[in-house]
Structure formats: C-alpha cells, structure tokens
Amino acid sequence: MGATDPQKAPTVPSMEGLTLSGETVNVAKLARGRPTVLLFGFRDAARVREAEKRVDGPTGVLRTDAPRAAVPRVHAQANLATFATPLRAAFGGDDRVGVYEVSRCAAGPWRRHAVG
C-alpha cells in the first residue's frame, strides 16, 4: 500500500496494556507525537507450523492438496526481519522514530525461543 490520504487512513486502535513497572498504558497513545513503525507478527511458531500444511507461501492461498514439504515456509517474524534490518541501520539510536514490535507471545521476546 502506498502513501495514503491521512484524513482517510485508518488509525491505530486503542490497545491498553500493562508495563513491567505495573503502569497502564495505551499503545495507540504511545505511538502519538512521532512517526512510529509497527511490526505485527501475530502467529507464534506452533500456529505457523500448523498453517504450513494448508497455506501456499506468502500469498496465503489455501492448498489442501499440497504435501507439506512442497509448501514454502510462512514465518511472520522472518518477514519482519527483512524490514527491521535496514530500518535499524537507518534509525538505530534515533529517538524521533518509534519502533514497536507487536507479537502474540504472552511471555515476551525473551521467552520466544521457547515456542520456536
């Protein structure tokens, strides 16, 4: 999707959450005041493995007849890494740009290897 008319573009929905210090914050409000890149990777490894049986690569087309070995791997986090690498090279250390990684992982990034 290219650049959109800001007035017609969707806004980040309200997402209230808890920080490690126990404060309640709204992610949508955190993203205000500066350009922010949101990296969404909703599926954890177990779900992706299940999906590999029936999804044909990045197009997401269902393929119930495909043998599992023939189906390209679908990895949301690997998708995001292709954007994260140049992004970090360009804006690493720049406080004017926010980068939020949104994942579906209850225990956070430090435990992610447990499901991978």
Partner: protein, 155 residues
Amino acid sequence: MPWANRLGHYWQRGAAACSSAQIAVIESWVLAKLRASVILPNLRKTVPAAEHVRKRAQPPALAPGAAPHSRARSLLRRVARLGQPYFVSVATDGAPIRRALHMDNALLGHVLLVDAAGHVRWQAHGDAAPGEAERLIQLTRRLLSEAPETAGNSS
C-alpha cells in the same frame, strides 16, 4: 539462530540505541488471567528494573519557529514525559485490531508506518520486496520532517 528469534536479535534487550518497544498481545483468556499474577512477575525478575520503563534520551524536536505555547509543543511535552516502556502486555482479542488495520492474513508479518497523529500512512506485508524497505525509510524521513505540524492537528 532459531527463526523465531531473528527479529528479537535486532531489537533485543540491551540494544539501547534503538527506540523500540515490545508489545505482547495475549489472546488466550487463561493466559490473560495469569498475566498479573504469574507472567509479569516472572518477567520482572529477569529484566533489570532500569529497563522496565526507559526514559527518552532527548525530548522530541519541534519545528523551527514553532510558537512557544503551541498545541504541538504541549503534545510533544506530554509524550516526552510519558517515557518509553520497553515491554507492554496487552490482553485483548487480536482480530478487531487486525480488521481495523486491514491485516487480513494473520500468518504474515505486517509493517505499518504511523504518523505523529496516529494515522497509518503506509503498509506492507510479507518479505520486503526490492525497494520496499528503502521506501519505508524514505517515507519515515518524510514524516519526520512533518511530525510537529501533524502532531499539532491531532488532539
């Protein structure tokens, strides 16, 4: 390196140079019940207290010539005071979020560029196509130049 940890490698704890945060969405009601009593206390033990909320190194910049009491200045001051939590745990159903942001395929990674007023200005999914990552960087730079003006129109 396990594939699931690749992104964490780039934005991991200790990479203080990156202004990044991790948002963990909990969709399971069982895990949501355990969040405050089990999950967050365990994470607090493993993460240094200094990284629970990281204050910004410097407040966001204002446009040259901005009025001393402008709405943009007020908004940016509030954002700077808020600090930068490294980790936020959100217990919610992810489907409405995906619908609102037009992320139809939940199996892929989605990248959204959001301006200072919270509007999604650019979106991509899957692996970065040739030139797509450069486009993201280029548009982010453009938003940086217009950020104070946009922020002033937001609240």
